[in-house]
Structures are given as structure tokens and as C-alpha cells.
């Protein structure tokens, strides 16, 4: 595990200085502008509007940063041949991928946390919300970003920078509509369509299932069982994706 930690540390040190990581400042501008505008145009419950806008922005920015930082870092590591000097020092290739994942997960987890903290500070002057559900939504957003990192790592293994970004974005978007796709297949008369949508439902990560942003601040808290199910699902999905990724990577000719 020492080697995994060291890869994660190097990944973190490099990613923290990546300009894309400063997307936090974009968020800060969005949230400050929104607060000023909403405070002047809304009648009551401004805090909930800022909350909805803020959580949506955190999710979009978090996912975008996860996609860009992960794919860009992996591609650059391969092009700069840093990958070679890392791999030749490791006992097994999977340690590299696990280390990379932990490094990305740490930097992006911290960024989402900072954004959530900034959002809380922006909400605070306007009124009270249910903070527990807000915290649960923030944790779920971090877990969602971690799934996106795993998806991005998977595509970065087998395609170019552009295609990897495109495929990850496509999976991210369709992953939010898996239930709709499933329903569509069930209602269809075509057996082929039914099987295709069924396959998509099970193959794609169900990102809507881990979305706790809709009730955040409005309800006191999500039920413990519901919250634990979200945590379990994201953990299993992430482990599954990283395992596939490691399996592909360990068989790949790096030439």
C-alpha cells in the first residue's frame, strides 16, 4: 500500500497545481453573482434558490473538473513517459491505477468540499435550511464525482483525449437517465429494444440514484437506510469500474 500511497501523493501534488483545479473560483463567481441577483429579485426563501443553484453548479463543475483533470493527467503521463518510470518501479500495475484514483479522489473530493463550504457561507446570511440533508447531498455529490473519475479512467485507458472526454461525458449524461431508458424499453413492443435498454440500464452507472440534491435543505434528512444505500451503491460501482480498468491496464502493451 506504500506504493499506492506514493502514486496518490504524486498525483495529488501534480493535480493541485493544474489550472483546471481552479474551477473553484468559477464557482465562487457563480455563487456570489447568483446570491446578489437572487436576493434582489426573489420574494422570500432566497436561501433555497441559492442552494438549488449552488448544488447544481457544484455537480456540473465537479464532474467537468473530474473528467478533464483525470483524462488530461493520464494522457500527459503517458505522453511524457512518466508512466514508464512509475510502472517500472511497481510490483504490479494495478497499484498505479489505484494510486491514481486515490490521488484524483482526494483532490476532487477536497474541491467539492470547498465548494460546498462556500455555498454554505453564501446561504447562511439569507436564512436557515435543513443542514443535515445538505451535508448528505454534499457527500453524495463527492461520491458521484468519484464514479465519474473511475469512468474517465476507464475511457482514458483505451482512447484518445478527445474520445475519452466525449465518452465520459456521454456516460455521465446518459447515467442520469437510466431509469427513463429502462421504462422506455419496458413500454416498447420491440424485444430487441427491450433487451438493449435492459443492457444499458445494468451497464451504465445510475447517477440519478445517487443524486440527493433534490431534497437537500428542504427535508430534515434522508433516511439512514437510503443514505447508506447510496454510499454502498457508489462504492460498489466505483470498485467495479476500477477493477475493469485495472484488468484492461494490466493486459495492455504500453508501446
Amino acid at each position: 500500500m506504500k506504493q499506492v500511497f506514493e502514486i496518490a501523493r504524486l498525483t495529488f501534488a501534480d493535480a493541485v497545481r493544474n489550472r483546471i483545479a481552479y474551477g473553484i473560483f468559477v464557482f465562487l463567481i457563480i455563487i456570489l453573482t447568483a446570491s446578489i441577483i437572487l436576493a434582489s429579485v426573489t420574494m422570500g426563501r432566497t436561501e433555497l434558490m441559492i442552494l438549488d443553484l449552488g448544488l447544481g453548479a457544484i455537480s456540473i463543475l465537479g464532474n467537468l473538473m473530474a473528467i478533464i483533470i483525470t483524462i488530461q493527467s493520464l494522457q500527459q503521463e503517458r505522453e511524457s513517459r512518466t508512466l514508464y518510470v512509475l510502472i517500472t518501479r511497481l510490483d504490479s500495475r494495478w497499484k498505479y491505477l489505484l494510486g491514481k484514483f486515490f490521488g484524483f479522489a482526494a483532490i476532487l473530493g477536497i474541491q467539492v468540499l470547498i465548494m460546498c463550504g462556500l455555498l454554505a457561507l453564501a446561504i447562511f446570511p439569507f436564512g436557515e435550511i435543513y443542514w443535515l440533508s445538505f451535508i448528505q447531498a454534499c457527500i453524495a455529490t463527492i461520491l458521484e464525482v468519484w464514479i465519474i473519475i473511475a469512468i474517465a479512467m476507464l475511457f482514458a485507458q483505451s482512447s484518445s483525449l478527445f474520445l475519452a472526454v466525449l465518452f465520459t461525458l456521454a456516460t455521465d449524461i446518459t447515467g442520469r437517465f437510466t431509469s427513463v431508458i429502462h421504462q422506455f424499453g419496458e413500454q416498447s413492443n420491440s424485444t430487441l429494444l427491450h433487451w438493449v435498454t435492459e443492457a444499458m440500464f445494468y451497464a451504465l452507472p445510475n447517477l440519478e440514484a445517487v443524486n440527493l440534491r433534490n431534497g437537500a435543505g428542504y427535508i430534515e434528512s434522508y433516511a439512514t437506510n437510503h443514505f447508506l444505500a447510496v454510499v454502498s451503491y457508489t462504492t460498489i460501482e466505483t470498485v467495479f469500474l476500477i477493477t475493469i480498468c485495472a484488468w484492461i491496464f494490466s493486459r495492455k502493451n504500453l508501446s
Binding site: E6, L10, S80, R81, Y84, L86, I87, L90, N253, S255
Partner: protein, 309 residues
Amino acid sequence: MKSLLQVKGLSFTLPTGHVVQGRKTILDNISFDIPKGSATAYLGPNGAGKTSTFRILCGLAKSDSGQIYFDGKRILGGLPPKQFGFMPEQPYFYKNLTPNELLTGLGRLSGLNGSSLTKSILEWSEKLHFTKILNQRLATCSKGQVQRVGLAQALIHQPDFILLDEPLSGLDPLGRECVSEVIQSEIKRGATMLFSSHILADAENMCENVIVLKEGTILFSGNMKTLIAAENNWSIRTVWQDESLPVFETTETSRNVDGTIRIKGSSEKVRDDVITHILASSGATLVSVEPERRTLEQAFVNLLKGENQ
């Protein structure tokens, strides 16, 4: 001398297309031995298969067939990490990190820690002359400086076997001299080295053995001196009064700036014939007869052109 690395019947192909898969042969059943404590130059034109061999040895790519033995033991997934150091061709590493941060991370991955690691980084930065840039972002370092950092990372854990892919490219003459000194001191320490280079003069100075590769097959594997001295070249300088120069078979004739004629060849019999001819001619004066030592570069070019076969 006992072999540290033995490569037997190594073959490697790469797919040539995406839809219709053909395969291009990169390495075709190559075998060679690297003696313990020696420096071996791994030479060949672009596309000969040098980098592919290195990648297979490092475990970055899998060969189609063949075996690799390291210190008598067969290895399957690349050389043992703690026993070898690898420097890829033109590395440029993490642009956002400093050489100090990079070497600390890579040193830790190789099992170094604490004060011994710090001491080792300082030592290598002094030996390779990059102490001044130790805490400067790699993005702001020159190509030559990054190249030195690349060499330091391969040597920091004092490996038994060092694999260097074009370690001298991108370096100025002073940088090349510095790197050459470091490589020679590593050989003195007892390390074994295999390195590829297109700068053949440096390879000639540093290595006692040479392997020449062309289109995935080995043209020559053995002692450097044997390759260079494969032919006894000679050069004769003469003053010739007549306008028309005699033509001697298998020789090369040229006129020098000072007006003398230089006749070059390799056959001893032809050399004796030329000397006899000059001495017998009334209008000719023999100025000098010199043995001409080939350089590795000449031997390499001749070998590739098939003149030695």
C-alpha cells in the same frame, strides 16, 4: 564473464490497423547476452526495434515469444523493480512538480526514505549539475536539465542494471561529458548497463560491447573493438606529377587541398600493389602510408549497408 541479462529468441509484433488487423514485425527472434558489470551499446537506425526491446525488458509490453533471464532467473513481467533503473527516451515528467518533489516521490517508490533519500537527491543533483533547479518547476527547466533529472531518477536507488534509452540526446557537449562521467562511474561501481544512442562517438567511448540491430534482427553482437577492427583500412598519400590518376580497384582516390593524392582502401594486397606502383613510377613520390582506424560510426554505417556481410 557471467551474464546478468540473457535474451533468447525474443519476437514482438504490433497491430498495423484498427479494422483489418495486420501485424508488423518489430523484433524477429533476437538473442543476446549482457555480461555482468559491462556497458553495452544498443544501436540501430530509427525503427530498428531498440525502444521496443527496452519496453519488453521493463515489462511495459509483452513479447510474442522468447525468454528473458535476469541473474539466471527467468522473468515474465519485466525486470525486478528494485534491481534496475530505467530512463525512457526524452522524458519530460510532471510539469507542475519540481525535480526535488519528483525525485522524492520516485525514490520512495523505489524503497528509499528519510535522510538517505534527501542525501541521495542532493548527491545526484550535484553529480549531474542540476542543484540550482532542484526547487524549480519542471515546466521551466530546459530539455537538457530535464534529461539530467531523468538520468538521476534511474540511478537514485543504485540499481544493479541500468537501462537508458537515448540518455545523451538533447544535451550540449558539457552535458554529454557530465552524463558520460556519471555513466562510467556507475560501471566502476559494478552496475551493468545497456543503452541506446544515436551519438555513436559517445557510445564508442563508454561501452565495451555493442549490439547492432536493423529491422528487428541483430546484425552484430559482441565486442566493440571487434566491430571497429573488422577491416584493416589504410590510407596512402602521394604526390603525382601526371595529370591522369591511375585507378586501383577497391580503393577510393581523392585530391587533398595541398595537391597531394590520397588513396584509401582495406585490402592489404591492394595496398602493397599501390605502394609498388608508386615506387616504380618516376613521376610519383610516396609521402606517407598510414593505417586508418575506423570509428564506430563508420563501422556502423558499413554494417548497415551490408559491406561487412
